[in-house]
Amino acid sequence: MSEAISALGGARFEGYVTVEEVGPVGMITLRGALGSPTLAKAVESVMGVEVPASRRIETAGTKSVAWMSPDELLLVLPYAEVTATQAALTAALGKDHALAVDVSDARAVFRIKGDKAREVLAKLCPVDLSPAVFHAGEVRRTRAAQVAAALWLSGGDEFTLVCFRSVAGYVMGLLRASAAPGGEVGLF
């Protein structure tokens, strides 16, 4: 069998920040009662982190759990571990009314890295990304120009941005335009 490929096959752009589409990333959408002890235990057992608070992301090693909505989490993990994790999760959820589904292939993931990464995203997203307001550990679902996106700080000066797979080319185009040399704003 062939290896799964990501939407843009790891495309990269060196502008005044670095933009990279990262290869296949494992993702599971988990919908359920986030306050349920069974769900909390299930998440902790497969991901090694607690259920995050509203708009937060919890990370342990290669795995993160992001709060998406009052009844939805996004589990981010290595692509190869999705099938096993989903099965374990479903088993651990038992009879809880919940939905755990693989969405790895439905998404594209970008890393935007550099000391001006915040302003590159501030050209696309109607979000206050100033260092005083937007901190590590926060997930923000918003729009990047005309498409839905979720973003968080995944390192000191590195953002991770997730969008739908079909618009990966569009989002790469946006990021190229935003990060094109000469476009420095000096906002933050």
């Binding site: 490929i5 939407a7 009314h97 969405v103 696309l124 005309q146 185009g173």
Partner: protein, 1002 residues
């Protein structure tokens, strides 16, 4: 003549000469010049023609209020019309031309209008062009089209790029004069986040030109210190060349930053549109000087007094050798003083006030400048350039006392605060009689989301015109802004001083008793040629509302949007109506403050990223295989794959025939795939669909219809029962997001106690349809699972492995052929497609596109959402009653379908249409019935919804909605064609091909 002075010029760099061309002439300026300053330095006073009369027009102002000096700037992809020379920075190599004249600026045929001016009064446009009717098309319209517009329309695509940036701040301060700087210092001292924007390339506004001193220092020094202090604060953002364009609801502000206008082609974005959200907005936007209305006030060489001294002090440009100053206030004396200080001649200051004894008039007199009070200009002499003025008593009718030769007239009618940003979002104004202007009424500000006022005016923009008051008021504005956010600003404040000024006197017409001959030469709107006499005529003709007068006369409708003409026009109208100015009121201030180019408003959205393009995982294969695309929503789907030598139609027909004969391959990835799971999922789907989904056995598929609450068909697709508590709902390609939102709406807002979760898995899977008599052979060749009729019959699905790929195979058919739709994870989609192509080669496999799909479904009489439906069609109209449950108590749309009109037997219903001559009925054709309706139009009895040439049946086939259609089998209906003639079709069953479904049942 106007020329460059040998010394001075605080904004220019004499070491840095800049070459430019104007109307083909090569000229020189300096770095720091505006185009207007550089033109004046080269004795180019006349720079354009007015709109209506094509009168010569010169530079009037030195800023955003300039009505005349607009030029076509640049070439090719960087060509822009209507660039305001007074705000555009000069750059080396700049090339620009004047506008609105033919054949040349100096000799303009259009000036004939000027001599016919008496026949082109206010409201001319509404009084002419009426009769004879035929003349409009052949005479008037061509003339209007020829003369409409000012600059030329750019012909080439814009070579530059643009971008947005979203910014958030506690306090946004618009206008970086000394008021803005003071407001920023005060506001920032509270710890609030502050953003200060200024439209020009310089901080400090006009204080340095006006000789203001602050804290005992010259203004320029204080400005430098203030800017440095602000730059060193972590909570302050400063932006030059950034024009506050508009203030909108809830503290939203648009600002246009001209990043690279002055450095074209340097790789930076040309403009950056700031989309700012501010808790408080402080407008320190200054004030604009008003012209005076006297005969000939539009002749090149007549300028605003403050502009004259701006050119002298800022750019070392002398607008003329001999300048007569005419004023109703003290401030204009600064111009006389500045001119004499650089050695230029001021033969006379004409002051319309009875006396002038303030510090500035006395200083002027002490310098030997002749001052005459109680006087007025009877008439300016000259045509393309001022040659002199005739002087009279202000109180009289214009009897000339004396004539003085001069080449420049510096006029000042007082100052109006720039209240635009205050007013955009509903801030109200009050009339300040002492200063004869409207200023913000602090008790009636625009209010925000919390119901509190969110705009605060400060400094001259608030009517505090004199330097000391300006700074004090601006500091207060900054303090109040911070206070409104629960913060405390420090109150240490700078003190400004300048010569004290005595009250101005409102002078609206000069002289007071001017005859109609004089009034018809007094311009209010220089660009649109609206004169005092036009406004008075409008009043006489009954236009009492200022908004109506504006539109009737075009006063204030030029590119400066009345920045100069507004108050003078109002005053003239008020006088004509015998009303007070505040009763007449102002016209509405609308954004943007000065024009914002469309490129900036579009931002990054152009070219490849104009809008999102959705690509399936197989998109690149299509692109490499001669695809013709069809847009479906934001997706691109293959319409057909052309082979060399084929027309599009031939390609489509080949694909149909091959799929019916051998096997076809379709990229169906765009189909919506919505997972619905939970104990109440069955109950939920029974409400959502017209049919019953809860009884569907696991492993099976069922076709379903969804309606809105009006009962109208909104989407369709096949539902598969995945497990005891989960269903996968296929939607149309265009419907996936809409139907997912529809599901969530009902689950969140109506049935929130039902235990159901949904997930949109549309993009998780690539979906590939293998369709045709050889389909099973292809799958068997791929190998890995049993796809036999027995194991996987029609309308069932199974998980398994095919060719090593993890798949879910649905046996469903939209073509009437043996068909498998196979879902694989999107990341494997392309590889699976390639494997299918390889496996299918020996079985005659060819990919096909949406047009072949459409033809095949039409041959089978299958409906298509958007073709057979248009938002007014219920399933019953389409003969889909079999898919509507009679047993269910309720479902979405059921009540709507119970309405009398929906059960009317006269409704148009779906039938097949077979042309008698085998031809194809034109798309969208209407069936006509005998007789005419009340409007004398032919009666109609139906319309075509899908019409194709069927390569299978080798004839035209169609579906259509026809009155009582199913009851009229065998009857004929007539479809007139565009261009004459008609085509007759017989009403038949909509299933044209394989009526018994034998082909799929194998």
């Amino acid at each position: 003549m106007s020329t460059r002075l040998s010394k001075g010029g605080r904004l220019i760099d004499r070491a840095s000469a800049q070459e430019f061309s104007f109307n083909g002439k090569r000229l020189r300026g300096f770095k720091g010049d505006t185009l207007a300053a550089a033109l004046l330095a080269n004795d180019q006073v006349m720079v354009g023609r007015s709109f209506k009369y094509h009168r010569p027009r010169g530079i009037v102002a030195s800023g955003a209020e300039e009505p005349n000096a607009l030029v076509n700037l640049g070439k090719g992809g960087r060509f822009e019309p209507n660039q305001r020379t007074t705000t555009t920075e000069l750059f080396d190599g700049a090339s620009f031309t004047s506008q609105n004249h033919w054949p040349s600026l100096e000799f303009d045929i259009g000036v004939l209008n000027n001599y016919a001016a008496r026949m082109l009064p206010g409201g001319f446009y509404y009084k002419t062009f009426m009769y004879p009717r035929a003349a409009w098309k052949h005479l008037f319209e061509p003339i209007v089209r020829q003369s409409a517009g000012l600059g030329q329309v750019p012909k080439d695509p814009d070579a530059d790029r643009y971008e947005y940036v979203y910014a958030f701040t506690d306090i946004l301060i618009v206008g970086g004069g000394i008021a803005g700087l003071q407001a920023a210092l005060t506001a920032a001292s509270s710890g609030a986040r502050v953003m200060l924007i200024e439209q020009t390339p310089h901080w400090g506004g006009r204080a340095p030109v006006d000789g203001v001193s602050i804290d005992g220092k010259p203004a320029a020094e204080w400005i430098k210190i203030a800017v440095e202090a602000l730059e060193n604060m972590g909570n302050v953002t400063l932006r030059l060349r950034c024009m506050g364009a508009g203030v909108y609801d809830h503290g939203y502000v648009l600002a246009d930053e001209k990043v690279a206008d002055h450095t074209p082609g340097d790789g930076r974005p040309k403009h950056r549109l700031w989309r700012i959200r501010a808790a408080r907005v402080v407008t320190t936007t200054g004030a604009i000087e008003r012209p005076l209305s006297f005969a000939g006030n539009d002749i090149p060489g007549v300028m605003l007094a403050a502009a004259v001294r701006d050119y002298v002090v800022n750019y070392a440009v002398s607008p003329g050798d001999r300048t007569v100053v005419v004023t109703n206030n003290d401030d204009a004396y600064r111009t006389a003083i500045a001119l004499v200080e650089v050695g230029l001649s001021v033969p006379l200051v004409i002051d319309a006030r009875p006396t002038a004894t303030g510090a500035l008039p006395e200083k002027a007199r002490a310098m030997g400048i002749r001052v005459e009070t109680g006087r007025a200009i009877a008439k300016v002499k000259g045509s393309r350039r001022v040659t002199g003025v005739a002087i009279c008593q202000q109180a009289g009718e214009g009897t000339v006392i004396e004539e003085i030769s001069c080449d420049t007239v510096a006029m000042s009618g007082g100052w109006s605060p720039v209240v635009h940003l205050w007013s955009h979002c509903g801030g109200k104004l009050i009339w300040d009689a002492a200063q004869a202007h409207f200023r913000p009424d602090a008790t009636r500000p625009p209010t925000g989301a919390d119901g509190q006022g969110f705009v605060i005016a400060g400094g001259a923009a608030n009517g505090a015109l004199q330097a000391e008051a300006t700074l004090f008021d601006a500091a207060n504005a900054g303090k109040n802004a911070a206070q409104g956010l629960g913060r405390t600003a420090k109150s240490d404040l700078s003190t400004a001083s300048a010569e004290a000024e005595q009250p101005m006197a409102p002078i609206w017409v000069m002289p007071q008793g001017a005859s109609v001959q004089l009034r018809s030469k007094m311009w209010l709107d220089f660009q649109n040629d609206v004169k005092v006499s036009d406004v008075q005529l409008a009043a006489r003709e009954g236009y009492t509302s200022v908004e109506h007068t504006k539109r009737y006369t075009t006063l204030g409708m030029a590119t400066d949007q009345g920045k100069l003409s507004n108050i003078n026009g109002l005053a003239v109208l008020a006088d004509a109506l015998n009303a007070e100015i505040p009763q007449v009121g102002t016209t509405t201030f609308r954004p943007p403050y000065t024009p914002v180019t469309l490129g900036a408003l579009a931002g990054e959205a152009r070219g490849e990223i104009f809008q999102p393009l959705r690509r399936t995982p197989i998109h690149e294969w299509h692109e490499a295989n001669r695809v013709e695309w069809e847009p479906v929503g934001l997706w691109r789907r293959p319409y057909t794959f052309k082979r060399s030598g084929e027309t599009t139609e031939q390609a489509v027909h080949r694909e149909v025939v091959n799929t019916r004969t051998n096997v076809g391959l379709l990229d169906a990835s765009t189909l919506g795939k919505l997972l619905v799971k939970g104990p109440d999922a069955g109950k939920f789907l029974d409400m959502l669909y017209t049919g019953v989904m809860s009884t569907l056995p696991v492993g099976k598929c069922r076709y379903g219809l969804m309606c809105n609450e009006n009962g109208f068909l909104s989407d369709d697709g096949v539902v598969a029962r995945i497990s005891e508590d989960s269903w996968l709902c296929h939607t149309t390609s265009g419907g996936a997001d809409r139907i997912h939102a529809w599901m969530e709406d009902w689950l969140q807002c109506e049935w929130w106690d039902w235990k159901v979760y949904t997930a949109n898995l549309t993009e998780q899977y690539a979906q590939v349809a293998v369709v045709g008599p050889n389909a099973r052979k292809v799958l068997e060749k791929l190998g890995g699972m049993d796809v036999s009729k027995e194991t996987l019959p029609f309308m069932q699905w199974a998980d398994g492995i095919l060719g090593g790929f993890p798949v879910r195979v649905y046996r469903i058919s939209f073509s009437g052929e043996l068909s498998y739709e196979i879902a694989v994870p999107a990341g494997l989609g392309r590889a699976f497609w390639d494997a299918c192509i390889a496996a299918g080669a020996e079985f005659g496999m060819m990919p096909y596109g949406t047009e072949a799909l459409h033809i095949m479904r039409a041959e089978k009489g299958f409906i298509m959402i958007g073709d057979e439906t248009d938002g007014t069609i219920i399933p019953q109209d389409l003969g889909l009653g079999w898919a509507i449950s009679k047993k269910k108590a309720d479902f979405l749309g059921k009540r709507g379908q119970e309405r009398v009109h929906m059960t009317d037997p006269e409704r148009w219903k779906l039938v097949g249409l077979e042309t008698l001559d085998g031809s194809v009925i034109p798309d969208g054709a209407i069936a006509v019935a005998p007789g005419v309706n009340a409007n004398g139009q032919r009666n109609t009895e139906g319309r075509v919804t899908s019409t194709y040439y069927s390569p299978t049946l080798k004839r035209g086939i169609a579906m259509g909605l026809v009155r009582r259609g199913p009851e009229r089998m065998g009857e004929t209906v007539e479809f007139p064609k565009i261009g004459g003639g008609s085509v007759t079709a017989r009403i038949v069953d909509a299933v044209f091909f394989d009526k018994d479904g034998e082909k799929a049942n194998v």
